[in-house]
């Protein structure tokens, strides 16, 4: 069980206050809301890239609030895929797990044979699939997705939404998606939360 209890964060204005969430294994939640309402900051706080003002993050009963991002085992997929340009696809994946079978991971995201490809040659959709495969290789306790489908065209976005959802369900990996697109939220998530 992954839980967020009473999370609060403000900069000049309050972004979110007393935010609570509980995720069962394999459960997918979408958080929607207009630009600037704090969706991305919420994910950054959960992942440990930003500090919370108040609140606790628990995983299997353990409080992980004060752990640094690299020790939380929380995956994050950015709006645009963050792939390291000095490493090829295979080596990018190896960052998440040295001993993992890269070809299996690539098979899962329908990118068989991409191990040696330079990341410069990937399309937007392929890049996101590699980022997804890499994030899953790290075996995260929860996967956070920060509008990963927004930079893709509509058709590709629809296909990727279904593929990613199926993959997460197959792996029983809980996930939180933030998006301003209600259609994507409906297609992807089991539960939708609106952040105002």
């Amino acid at each position: 069980m992954f839980s967020c209890v009473g999370l609060s964060k403000s900069f000049d204005k309050t972004l979110f206050d007393d935010f609570n969430l509980e995720l069962e294994p394999g459960e997918i939640v979408a958080i929607t809301g207009p630009s600037g309402c704090g969706k991305t900051t919420l994910l950054r706080c959960i992942s440990g890239l930003e500090n919370l003002d108040k609140g606790e993050i628990l995983f299997s009963g353990h409080n992980i609030t004060n752990l640094p991002a690299e020790e939380r085992k929380i995956g994050l997929i950015f709006q645009k895929p963050v792939l390291y340009p000095h490493l090829n696809v295979g080596k990018n994946l190896k960052l998440a797990s040295k001993n993992a079978d890269i070809s299996v991971a690539l098979d899962e995201v329908n990118l068989s044979g991409f191990e040696k490809r330079s990341v410069h040659t990937l399309s937007g959709g392929e890049g996101q699939r590699v980022a997804l495969a890499r994030a899953l290789l790290a075996e995260p306790s929860v996967l956070l997705l920060d509008e990963p489908f927004s930079s893709l065209d509509e058709e590709l976005s629809k296909k990727l939404v279904i593929d990613v959802r199926n993959l997460l369900k197959k792996r029983n990996c809980p996930a939180i998606l933030v998006t301003h697109n209600n259609i994507i939220a409906k297609d992807f998530a089991d539960i939708i939360i609106s952040l105002n």
Binding site: G48, L49, P68, E70, E71, F78, L95, A96, A135
Partner: protein, 554 residues
């Protein structure tokens, strides 16, 4: 590596390295001359050694800046506005003089105007002109590096729009209303930097002028008798007065330079698209002479190293020979061989690299980290790392030398390591200036993503940060090697009383041997050729690894 203890330690080490020798030197000079600022400044007018030196220094630096702009702007215009075959090669040739050690340039120009060349150096008017042209030769690359990007990457729509407006119908109108306002900060920044380099020029002044001094060369000259209690007290006052004036002028110039750089960057409406440029056949009339100008002194040195000129009662006898090279690379009664100097130079450069590169990198990383959390403190640390830019190489040399005298002269003169301290002081600020823009341009998401993948601090440093910054790190490393190998001012002050000679110092020493030995000039040119080739290889490597539009100053 993001570690605040390491960052604090690096700032402390750097400040100790920079400030301790300068403070000890200052303390020693004040101990001899007394603390009276007005007396120091007045001594410049009263002492025959320093009379007129400040005026000459400012005049030659101003004229050098003007001539550099006059030559450099048309070249930058042609390179930036038109398409040229082998454009990057042309640019490399034209920017190469800047990385050449000053002593090599001095030897080249000496030969061109000396009695084996045009033979015009005996005339006071011509040596002054030669000095100005030599400074222009050195600094023309600054004008190109500052102005050419403004011209070559400007969004073409800006000019197209201007053509359609009444104010931009004529070429003159477009120049007045578009190009000049955009280019003035770049031109001023290049002029400012040229002024600084000409103001602190040492090797060229020492060799090209006939007895005239700048503040820099005068300080180097009188420095050997400074810091001794009761001995030539007035010279200590002259050094203190000169240092104070030089430091103030350089500090102001650097502040101006930094302000102009900021203006320049905000004024650059660039395009990322490749801009289609036209050819300009007439432009060769600017580019070709500029290429010849850049190459001529270097070619002259190489040729002159094989040319022997024997003068006896029956006249002069000139012939081609390798004798100059043999003389340079063999030990004589008065001088060590160029091999020894080469070994010392390489050794000094490598150890300087091992110290200055990590130190500069950690300093840059500390500034970058502070910029995110404590921007005001970041600005202070940033300014402190630039402090050595306001202290010329001779001042650094004097600082190290007098600092050594203050602590234990015999010990410091006996160890091989001493000149490295000056080299580290000179090169570390350049490392910071090269690495910091690269760190700033590094996408923060790379670091964040690596953290969410579970990579530790050390893993992120070695697997992500270092490979992504590889180009800038290599440029910084090569820059350290080139600067250390070619460093003249500080080394001249420190090593001339010791056994640890370097390539630039041995060139100076060989050339200082009286003229009755026909091998001195070709031998000095032979060592200059070696130093020039080393600088050339390092320069070509830098160009290969330099990240495109990294925003760095060097």
């Amino acid at each position: 590596m993001h570690n605040k203890y390491l960052g604090t330690a690096s700032v402390c080490v750097f400040l100790t390295l920079i400030l301790a020798p300068l403070w000890l030197a200052f303390d020693r000079l004040v101990w001899v001359a007394g603390f009276d600022i007005f007396s120091w400044i007045n001594s410049l007018d009263e002492n025959y050694i320093s009379q007129g030196v400040l005026e000459f220094t400012v005049l030659q630096a101003l004229l050098s800046s003007l001539v550099t702009l006059a030559i450099g702007i048309p070249v930058a215009w042609q390179l930036g506005r038109y398409e040229w075959p082998f454009q990057s090669l042309i640019r490399s040739i034209l920017t190469m003089p800047f990385v050449m050690p000053s002593i090599v340039a001095a030897m080249g120009f000496m030969h061109i105007v000396g009695n084996e060349g045009l033979n015009i150096r005996t005339n006071a008017n011509t040596w002054f002109a030669t000095l100005i042209i030599a400074h222009a030769w050195f600094n023309i690359s600054l004008v190109i590096r500052f102005c050419e990007p403004v011209l070559s990457t400007l969004d073409p729509k800006m000019e197209e729009q201007m053509r359609l407006l009444p104010a931009g119908k004529s070429k003159l109108g477009r120049l007045r209303n578009l190009w000049l306002p955009l280019m003035i900060p770049s031109i001023a920044a290049a002029a400012c930097m040229t002024f600084v380099f000409s103001f602190t020029s040492f090797a060229l002044v020492r060799w090209i002028t006939l007895g005239e001094n700048t503040l820099e060369s005068m300080m180097a000259g009188v420095g050997s008798s400074a810091g001794i209690s009761g001995y030539m007290v007035s010279k200590n006052e002259v050094i203190l007065g000169s240092s104070l004036i030089q430091f103030t002028i350089l500090l102001f110039s650097l502040w101006l330079m930094s302000w102009l750089q900021m203006k320049r960057q905000t004024l650059l409406p660039t395009t990322s698209e490749t801009v289609a440029k036209s050819k300009n056949v007439l432009g060769w009339s600017v580019i070709l002479p500029a290429i010849c100008f850049a190459i001529l002194p270097l070619l002259t040195i190489m040729i002159a190293s094989f040319r022997i000129n024997e003068v006896d009662a029956s006249g002069s006898n000139q012939y081609w020979s390798l004798a100059g090279w043999e003389y340079a690379f063999s030990t004589t009664n008065s001088l060590p061989s160029a091999w020894d100097a080469l070994q010392n130079s390489v050794g000094y450069a490598l150890i300087t690299l091992l110290i200055a590169l990590p130190l500069g990198y950690i300093l840059a990383q500390t500034i970058r980290d502070l910029e995110k959390e404590r921007p005001k403190l970041a600005r202070v640390v940033d300014l402190l790392t630039m402090l050595p830019f306001a202290v010329s190489s001779v001042m650094i040399g004097l600082g190290v030398m007098l600092g050594m005298i203050r602590i234990d002269a015999e010990f410091f003169y006996s160890i091989w390591f001493t000149p490295i301290l000056a080299h580290v002081m000179i090169t570390t600020p350049f490392v910071v200036r090269i690495i910091l823009p690269a760190l700033r341009s590094l996408e923060p998401k790379y670091e964040e993503c690596a953290r969410t993948l579970g990579l530790t601090n050390i893993q992120r440093f070695f697997i992500i940060e270092i490979p992504l910054l590889r180009g800038s790190i290599l440029v910084a490393a090569i820059f350290i090697m080139a600067m250390s190998m070619g460093e003249f001012g500080a080394s001249w002050v420190i090593t001339r009383n010791s056994d640890w000679t370097t390539l630039p110092i041995i060139i100076d020493s060989i050339r200082s041997i009286p003229y009755n030995n026909p091998l001195t000039t070709p031998a000095a040119n032979a060592v200059s050729t070696v130093l020039m080739l080393i600088a050339l290889v390092l320069f070509v490597s830098t160009e290969k690894f330099r990240p495109t539009r990294d925003g760095g100053m060097f």
